[in-house]
Point group: C2
Chain length 368, copies 2
């Protein structure tokens, strides 16, 4: 095999496939990137849950296949001068990487036992801009559960109804829902995508509004195709939670508040909460004023914010992190928050319900 690349193209492609190289594995071959230069140059990585294939710009002087340790390969390319890079292999898969006057030699593998991408039919699909998909993930992914006690909670529900894509994440304390309008109507789809897949996809997406991703749905598989890259992931099997019925429609207190002021105020209060400590913040809503209070062994804080209020006065406690996570991904300057009572979840949403964030309150000592 004898290939010639331009450094920046090569590095960009390596960075894409690196996302599916497992950091720990019992199968050493998966720590490699497969370089397949049969007719085009294709890089493949596969951690058995997630697989990525990308076509790399470069010149094939003679074809071939080799698997190279991903970590050392990426480190070498990163440190080479920004110039033409040549990769050659001999009959024992010994790989030589040359750039200007520097020459690296590393051991390669045949790649015989490497798993290529699972094949899929490309029948059922939707498309949306890279930007939209990346935003949907960013605005919901923080609400998935970070441990495996309930597998369903480690993924996000992707549901397509006509021209609306709804993405839902929940972890037992909160729910995040985002909706986006698609450019076309599609068949009804309802699948649970692993959070890890979505995290990696969102790192690879360049985020352009003018470049689309095609998302293919297949039994047990989801595939994302954009530019020269295909990412294939297993789905999580099971029946997702009935989220609609968890969100009340009768609210006794509605608050309209400046998002940045509220976020900064909660952020300050968290200084008094040590990690692992479950100290709630107390929110006291009265006529046109929201008072935030917290008290811990480190000290106490209180702050008043101006609000518009409809409905009853209310005192309610929250885990500050959950409020902040939601506020951080809301783009609007002002946000509406809907309350029922101190035991029931609050809901942040806009009138079109393109976003809904539900957060469970925390009990607090009445003598606080």
């Amino acid at each position: 095999m004898h290939l010639v690349f331009n450094k920046s193209n090569l590095l960009q492609s390596i960075n894409i496939v690196l996302k599916a190289v497992p950091s720990r594995t019992t199968m050493p071959i998966l720590e490699c990137i497969l370089i397949d230069a049969s007719n085009v140059i294709k890089f493949t990585s596969n951690d058995t849950e997630l697989a990525i294939e990308t076509i790399v710009e470069g010149e094939i002087i003679s074809g071939g296949i080799v698997a190279i340790d991903a970590k050392i390969f990426s480190e070498i390319i990163r440190k080479l001068p920004d110039s033409e890079i040549t990769i050659t292999t001999d009959e024992n898969f010994k790989t030589t990487i040359t750039c200007e006057k520097a020459t690296f030699s590393i051991a390669g593998k045949s790649g015989e036992d490497f798993s290529y991408l699972p094949s899929f039919e490309k029948k059922q699909f939707i498309y949306l801009s890279q930007f939209s998909l990346k935003e949907l993930i960013r605005q919901t992914i923080f609400s998935i559960a970070d441990n495996d006690t309930n597998k369903l909670m480690t993924g996000e529900l992707f549901e397509v109804k006509e021209n609306i894509l709804t993405v839902t994440a929940l972890d037992g304390h909160r729910i995040a829902i985002r909706k986006t309008e698609l450019k076309d109507s599609f068949e009804h789809i309802k699948v649970i995508v692993p959070g890890k897949t979505l995290n990696e996809i969102s790192k690879i997406l360049t985020g352009g509004t003018d470049s689309d991703v095609r998302v293919f749905f297949e039994t047990n598989l989801i595939a994302f195709e954009f530019e020269n890259t295909i990412v294939v992931s297993r789905l999580i099997e099971g029946e997702y939670f009935k989220v609609e019925q968890m969100i009340s429609s009768n609210f006794d207190t509605i608050v309209n508040i400046n998002k940045k002021e509220f976020l900064d105020c909660i952020d300050r209060s968290t200084l008094l909460v040590k990690e692992g400590d479950k100290k709630p913040i107390i929110i006291n809503i009265t006529e046109n004023e929201l008072e935030l209070k917290i008290s811990s062994f480190l000290g106490s804080m209180n702050e008043q914010l101006e609000i518009n209020k409809n409905g009853k006065d209310l005192m309610i406690g929250f885990n500050p992190k959950f409020l902040m996570d939601a506020l951080k991904v809301i783009d609007e300057e002002k946000v509406d928050i809907y309350f029922v009572n101190p035991k029931a979840p609050c809901v942040m949403k806009n009138s079109e319900e393109t976003y809904i964030y539900l957060i469970l309150p925390v009990n607090f000592n009445a003598a606080y």
Copy 2:
């Protein structure tokens, strides 16, 4: 006590004194910043080796003294809006910090058992620009030893002879020497300053060329005075190494090389060295060419660089980190390297000897 500050002044002063707040201590009072508003507002911190005092701009509405936990104090100020900040204390040293509509309450201490700065006489001193001192430290500090087996090696020798300040650091494998011309001639001084002190000082110095530092020398103490701040540190006692006699003046091979090319080339080679592994790089100097070679279980690399050479051919091994540390702080585009033989140290220096970096070679297998 009742004080009023502007947030950015307050935060800047806190950041200065934080450098002498110990992260672990058996004396809880040292985890505090002492606020003394007797006639001016002074902040003091003291970790028993290093003490810092800075005068803070602010308004004294009523005077007083209080010691406040440095960590929580700095975190609160950092998170407050960029506005006017009021600090008040009551008779129990309970401290209230107010900014706009936010109010924090934290416990303070009397500060009775706090150690102020040691007093010193301001007799013997030198002065130089903040920039010069900061550069001198940056260009030598990497050569001090990072463990305590030889206390002398954890500090740097500061020696003044007439109008020349020479700073020396060594760790048993290498020596770094930097000289700078002072604006005046001073008495002869020779002291060993702890590396930790120099690290912290160099973080506080703003680095201006038009703002001077006065450095005071006293039995067992060194003090740095600049702007509103005084930093006092203990010295390391003992007789420093005779460095002059370690540097040969008879060299058999002299190489002139492009610094950046050499640095990048060594940097690439370190990819093949895992942390903790003592794999040397081999440098083979022949007519007008320097070849760098390395080989490890990860692979091998070689690269050729153009040089100007005077004297004999030579093959010599080095710890790549030591070469890189020195090359990184040399500002010149081209550097002269002086060699004797594969067993003797090499020396990088300029003709005026404002810098001298000596590095011991490493044995390597001849059959490499």
